[in-house]
């Protein structure tokens, strides 16, 4: 979200509508941190973050005439970003089954540690845990991935998720419930496979 309080957003939007390139550049610079944060946390594999960010800004400029001010402009942009990320996630094929063989040695150790003992994962294994979380989330539907990332990884509240995604609270809760159930099944199947 733009953190520069001196930035005149309504004025800038007005100038962008009049095709002022300098205002458009200023708007991109202001919104870049917001957009890139969403892109980085929901970036599909094999997609360059800069390409995805550019696509989001293109959509923003194309639809800027449709912005009526019903929601704050950064929220409106974040919804475009979320929808674009979901479209890209949907376009990439999911693996039919998640296997131990898909994990690196570090990821397998982390998974083994979280499933078998009650101790916390050591800070040295944080990166492996991070990668593992992304691999597990990739097994979920794009919308469900989005909700779990925002809820569990970024620790957003339901109302914050509603503002970012434009979904209502009930839908967010239903998606979170469905995603957690799928994750539970995923853990159980991995545990069974490890035993066998």
């Amino acid at each position: 979200m733009p953190d520069d309080e001196s930035f005149d957003l309504p004025g800038c939007l007005e100038r962008v509508r009049q095709r002022d390139q300098a205002a458009a550049r200023q708007l991109v610079d202001q919104l870049y941190p917001l957009v890139i944060r969403i892109v980085r946390s929901h970036l599909p594999r094999r997609v360059l973050e800069e390409d995805l960010a550019q696509e989001i800004f293109m959509k923003m400029f194309t639809r800027i005439e449709q912005f009526q001010g019903a929601v704050p402009f950064p929220h409106w942009v974040s919804r475009i970003a979320v929808t674009t990320c979901i479209d890209h996630l949907r376009a990439q094929k999911r693996r039919p089954e998640f296997r131990w063989a898909d994990l690196s040695e570090g990821e397998a150790d982390v998974l083994d540690a979280v499933m078998t003992n009650e101790n916390e994962v050591s800070p040295d294994e944080a990166m492996a845990a991070h990668e593992l979380v992304h691999k597990l989330l990739a097994q979920l539907k794009p919308e469900d991935q989005m909700v779990i990332r925002l809820l569990d990884l970024e620790q957003k509240t339901i109302s914050e998720i509603c503002a970012i995604t434009g979904w209502n609270g009930s839908l967010v809760k239903v998606r979170a419930f469905r995603a957690r159930r799928k994750l539970r099944k995923l853990f159980e199947s991995l545990e069974r496979k490890e035993r066998s």
């Binding site: 458009a24 550019q54 916390e120 990166m127 845990a129 991070h130 990884l153 539970r184 159980e188």
Partner: protein, 103 residues
């Protein structure tokens, strides 16, 4: 909370330790590129005349085809049945030179 939920919570807690301290300022030239692309895309929208020109070509082609189809019988009747008869087979030079009996 069952074992799987606890395992997920431990895993996610560990994953959160990875700070996403990456550069969040737009790379040099990104804003210029994005703004230029956006305005080029907007300019690419055809004008009213351009929008109608293509349709006009389609309508004109359709009218031409309909014209030929509706007048086909007339066109077919006006075509001579013996095309060879309509041509002059006598060489005009030979008439001038008196080599042919042309009456």
């Amino acid at each position: 909370m069952n074992r799987s939920d606890k395992a997920w919570q431990r895993l996610i807690k560990a994953a959160r330790q990875v700070s996403e301290e990456q550069e969040s300022v737009a790379p040099y030239g990104f804003a210029t590129r994005a703004a230029a692309h956006a305005f080029t895309a907007k300019r690419a929208n055809p004008s009213l005349i351009e929008q109608f020109a293509l349709r006009a070509v389609g309508v004109a082609s359709l009218l031409a085809v309909l014209g030929v189809v509706s007048n086909y019988t007339m066109l077919a009747q006006s075509t001579p049945t013996h095309v060879a008869d309509s041509f002059v087979t006598v060489d005009p030079a030979s008439i001038v030179l008196g080599e042919t009996d042309y009456e």
